[in-house]
Symmetry: C2
Subunit: 171 residues, 2 copies
């Protein structure tokens, strides 16, 4: 039994009877998602561009690195990262480094986010969607990293990308 | 309009007409989740206990630190962390340090995972649920950290917790 119980704008919810590798048969709920890319935009002066974005699901503004969904499963994640960096942060980058990738909720969703460091930045035109509530900010990489243990920065792609960038750069 | 379109074992799916802070009215889909805790169990010899867990939603085994859902919204996250460390990894810890917390998918779910470092470990009895497919492994913290840029470790709570622990410990 595999049934799509809800087809949404962002996710589809599926209920399926599954035989696990240990032989147990169980009914699982999970969602499919196209995947996403996220970018740490690091300027030459060691500041980053970081967004303050309203998230209704958690009822608050969060600090987030620029990010967005792939147009479809299989879109080149780097092309998506470049598009989102331009649309959300108004930036283009000459130098791109892959930092890793993260499954955000493998217990119930197949979303994967590809993490990038973007350097050699220059301004381009920003294009927000009408349902995106985003302010663009600058802070040093060290200021941003200090907000992780204090729980001021809690968005998981932002936590993972900032820490991975700092480790890769030895900062 | 706010309607629960699916009530599941793990999540409830809600559709709601929302007025955003910028005045835009839009229909949003999101899920509610009780929250969770995750633990990096660091032994005295600088190895960690880490799990190999089958995840049907992504169709593969993932490397994951011990973790699990809160019994209910509002349960003490540290109590949850202690329970999951015992049940999944067969360990108890005398020394606990909060590393931060992560919203895993703030675009469509309110799940938050509280991240801990656990030290001064001792063995206790492991209790797996019948639908948990988990192998317990040991590797050094450095070996685990090296698997993040190579994308062998991709579970987001594991990426965030390992990098935050390494940064806090100066390792």
């Amino acid at each position: 039994m595999r049934k799509t119980v809800y087809e949404g704008r962002m996710v589809n919810l599926i209920v399926e009877d599954v035989t696990l590798p240990n032989g147990v048969v169980t009914r699982l709920e999970f969602m499919t998602h196209p995947g996403a890319s996220a970018v740490v935009p690091l300027h030459d002066d060691d500041t980053i561009t970081i967004l303050r974005q309203y998230r209704h699901a958690v009822g608050q503004y969060l600090w987030e690195v620029p990010a967005g969904k792939l147009d479809r499963k299989g879109e080149d994640p780097l092309a998506c990262a470049k598009r989102e960096l331009a649309e959300e942060a108004g930036l283009a980058a000459k130098e791109w480094t892959k930092l890793g990738s993260i499954y955000t909720t493998p217990g119930f969703c197949d979303e994967i986010i590809h993490l990038y460091l973007a350097r050699s930045l220059e301004p381009v035109e920003q294009h927000l969607e009408r349902d995106e509530v985003i302010e663009v900010h600058r802070m040093t990489l060290q200021e941003a990293l200090a907000k992780i243990p204090t729980e001021e920065i809690r968005d998981t792609k932002t936590v993972g990308a900032l820490l991975a960038a700092a480790r890769m750069l030895g900062k």
